[in-house]
Subunit: 297 residues, 5 copies
């Protein structure tokens, strides 16, 4: 998640230099073709880039809207995980009979492990965090599973049933806590859905093709009155569209490990701090710090 | 679900060649008519294609938005089935008394059968998968039903009641598991709704008519300054609109068996793997592989 | 619900001939006025129809979006009724004690009667279907009510309480089944809301006025370069807007008995078939057939 | 809620005459300024009103969309109150032990009183209706509260607890009925939210300013070719935007007592009729009648 | 929340004077460059600002829509807190056994403290309000927590369990009240999500860059026909876009302490009044008053 209000133009140029190069070459070619091949034969009417502009406006708007929706939905899903994690811990700490307080604590710790495992899976990280929050026995139990976080939830269900069998919670409280497990399953599955569903690639492909068509025809048209300057203007206008498109696409996969993504590190840490404080732990880690005062992961 | 970022233009041309032909013929006709019939009688003002462009922009935007919404809703419905399947299995495995573990396992297996039956129905496939997950008795019981997956859910209800009568689950756990059956009914019905509701055909019909009107009037207008080149430009611009429209329409029926559809094979297999691992099965199938590294079904 | 992809143009012309006539008369008048009154006095700038086009584009887009939303919401409501009807029947068949199986069957049959009564009310039909699914006693009980389907739900509540008093269901199952009655109440009320709420009439009224203004000013402008052909072009462009508007408005009242409406006959029949098969009935009606292979009601 | 399809133009002119006057004066001024001050010095390019038109199109579209959303949400909230009122009455009538039938009836009557009190508060009416549905004791109890409808709900909770203490309902039915009270609280609070939240006034303010800028620059531009007729055309185009804006804003406060509002009188009466018939009352009021066949309140 | 319909133009100019200055300087520069450097060498085609206008229209529309959505979601979240606070108090007052009435009252008071703590955290205020509604013991308990409002909810859970252990509420009522705590957790977390998630800064950055590009190219184009007046018109049009953008951005952080924000002071006070009156308190504070009749905080 970006924090700074002013993005350095250099950062944008660094992201777009390949496309910029293609556009400049295309503009030069368009200019030369018009100047030496078609200048005296035919007029290129301005309606051509105008109509193409309409198509591009639709595409860029569509792509940006859908990308933002994916990003915001991802943020909501993890916001939901924050809320339910607090309700889960509150329930285990206050509604479980004192005789089983140790098991309840284990289940809160294991939940932090669940979040780190889910985060690692979404970010494609190696699973180095969970060790401190899972017991050795837990680690063995889940090791044979391809989906580690789902396996951790199964352990929670097993222990919830144990709490019920021990009469440490009655069936009503069992239902309430199980409801949280169902919600974690939902949040986990929704994150996986956003991560695994490729935004239809035809949209970004057609956008690229149409921007290129636009830049070429635009240069052809304006070179009629602006001459060699049309190369510069063609690139500027192309740059406007390209940077808008790239900007939108930076949100489409909100669980990647880059500056525009949902700050999973920071959110997971917030939950960790809340839960440890609710457990009365002294040793609480500090919140995640921004990188270069520029963005937070 | 398409995986590759760069669609070969040949694929798009293959999808649109009939429309391309119609457009080129129309453009040639428009060019000839203007050249030999009306060139010296009247000017065709550029406002005509401009206004038509507005109407087309609305239509293409509308169609694409609604098609994407259907596609994304379909994905969400199956994402929900993933989540609830895991909660269903987790509940049956951990909350049922050990004396009835066999029946609980049967119910998890039968659920996989339910998913394959639903998938086959949505895709219009013959039901060849379910045999391995349903008992022979089950198959007989559902054979007289026109809606197989609904019939399988009825069997689950019957066995859930059996678990309750055996006191293997108390009424609270019964309610929790029944809630999952209600959700499966919802997911199943929502899938059927998307599959069976034809997107209002007037929208795509009018879009086609208006694109054709646009291409003709556009060619008439630009042929005034571009001559025979107007045929080429008319087709290019028409192609932009047509490919956008076809692209959108490829998402409108997300349960068909093509490269743009929701990857039901892959999702069902993911659930299958999760559930088998939760049951502790050794023999777990591999995830579905992409076809030609290009798309996944 | 329309099934065919190609609407005959004759059908569209039949729906719009009155408006077409008004437009043609207006275009002729506009042409004559310009030709004989104002041709030599003043130029009519193209910016006038262009700006009006913007306003119309907003209106037509807005109307179409809201109409489609009403239509799709109506479809979702009835999709929900499909799902809950299945859950209702599944619950009554499997969760009620065998001693009360007859009452449970009556309640499933009565539910089909409820759906037919609701459908008849939404479509403004006379209530000729329900007789087969309601007992004579039921018919007497509801006869004094203005809202028949609501009265049927009250009977279901009464019998659900009877099942509970007979101990044929425990309180948990009572709650589950009552939840379905609450959902039917919701689906019923949502259908009535969509049916009874008139889409703000100012929107379609202003759309008509602005299209007329547009057609007249458009004809005035293009007649400066196209002469008498402007009458034809004015009508064509007007036709584009009018048919779009009429197309959208055909979805705004999705419970009417026409080819664009939600196919309530077909959906009700689907539920009927599912429920009868779940009850093990032999005598199951056939699905509703499309009319002329063109649409389904 | 308007019922007629054709709004008399006189009604629209009556709503807009002040703005019309301002616009006509502005157009005359613009015409005179151009004619006598700047005609021979400079050309006013058409791009100025065109660009302003884009900004206005955004504003008017935005305002209309948000206003309609508020209106439709308000309608949904009251649709929800219809549904839950029926479920509330059905539950009290059928699930309460016959020994407490009188208290149950009182609670249904009091609910009608709640709806009238809520409606009166939203509409800013004096509370003259509730007397017939509340007991004298109720009236005393709520008299000290600033929020009467909230106070009535508290009485319902008190009596629901009494029903439970009398064992006339078990805890399951208590929960079901209490759930309805929670939903009434939600519907009540959502209505208050829509009523009390002022739509950001900057939007309508800027819209007015930009329409004025547009009308002036538009008149300046077209007066170059149309002379004195530009005053008329400037006003016509301004009228199109103004009437669209005013039309949208008529929906933004859907609980006011005017022809475009949600018909609270009619909806409340519908619930009243349903509930009285469910109670078996003979003396049922007639539905609310439209006013002048034109709109319903 | 702004109350007045007419914003003083001076207020808008005060908010935008820095940008206005930059724009005027840019317009002057553009005018001078064209006049003395490029006037006789090349024509600047109007299509350049037109195309840029399309891009800006997309950006401003997108930013405004998303900002409004954040604002309206924030309002809904706090509307939900209003509703659930009333249900919470109603439940504690009427469903708790008279023997524990004192503890129930404490829990209602503490809830007001929770709301003030949450409000203070969202607004970044110092926590001076909560003292009157929390016991000294409560204050000690939460003092070690970084998230005070979450800590208060934990106290509520602890006391709810006490009520249940004392048999002052049965498990059903426990569940109902706990459900409210879960909803408070959700409302609290959703508020934090909106507050802590920075709206992607690239959007407002690119909007600024593109408006600047637009103003410059627009001035260049119109200076060809309007001369020195183009400076004024360039600024006017730039002002239209800038004020629209700033207006939208004023809603993007709805929990800040300014005139456009959600009126948290007023909403919290409303709940406070409702709850105190439900408790039968005599000493009820007055509603929050608007500031300068202009806005309410």
């Amino acid at each position: 998640m970006l924090l700074v209000q002013n993005i350095r133009l250099s950062r944008i140029l660094r992201n777009t230099w390949q496309v910029d190069l293609i556009m400049i070459v295309s503009c030069v070619a368009a200019y030369l073709i018009r100047e030496f091949l078609i200048a005296h034969h035919l007029d290129i009417p301005a309606i051509i880039p105008t109509v193409l502009g309409t198509a591009i406006a639709f595409f860029i708007g569509f792509n940006n809207n859908q990308a933002y929706d994916r990003w915001w939905e991802a943020r909501k899903v993890w916001g939901g995980l924050v809320n339910d994690s607090r309700s889960w811990a509150r329930g285990l700490i206050h509604y479980v009979d004192p005789t089983d307080v140790q098991l309840a604590r284990t289940m809160v710790f294991r939940h932090i492990g669940f979040l780190y495992a889910l985060k690692a899976s979404l970010r494609g990280e190696t699973h180095n965090f969970r060790a401190e929050y899972l017991t050795a026995e837990d680690e063995t139990a889940i090791s044979s599973h391809t989906n580690l976080h789902n396996a951790i939830l199964a352990l929670q269900s097993r222990d919830l049933q144990t709490l019920a069998r021990n009469k440490s919670i009655d069936s009503f409280r069992f239902i309430e806590l199980n409801e949280m497990l169902v919600r974690f399953t939902d949040g986990m599955g929704m994150s996986e859905r956003i991560k695994n569903t490729v935004f239809p690639t035809t949209y970004s492909y057609l956008t690229k093709v149409f921007i290129w068509l636009f830049v070429v025809s635009f240069t052809l048209v304006i070179s009629q009155s602006m001459g060699v300057w049309s190369i510069f203007m063609g690139w500027i206008i192309g740059f406007v569209f390209v940077s808008t498109q790239i900007n939108g696409m930076s949100l489409v996969n909100p669980f990647e490990n880059n500056s525009a993504s949902i700050p999973l590190n920071s959110i997971t840490r917030t939950i960790e701090i809340n839960l440890l404080q609710m457990l009365g732990e002294e040793n609480v880690p500090a919140p995640v710090k921004p990188i270069n005062e520029e963005y937070i992961l």
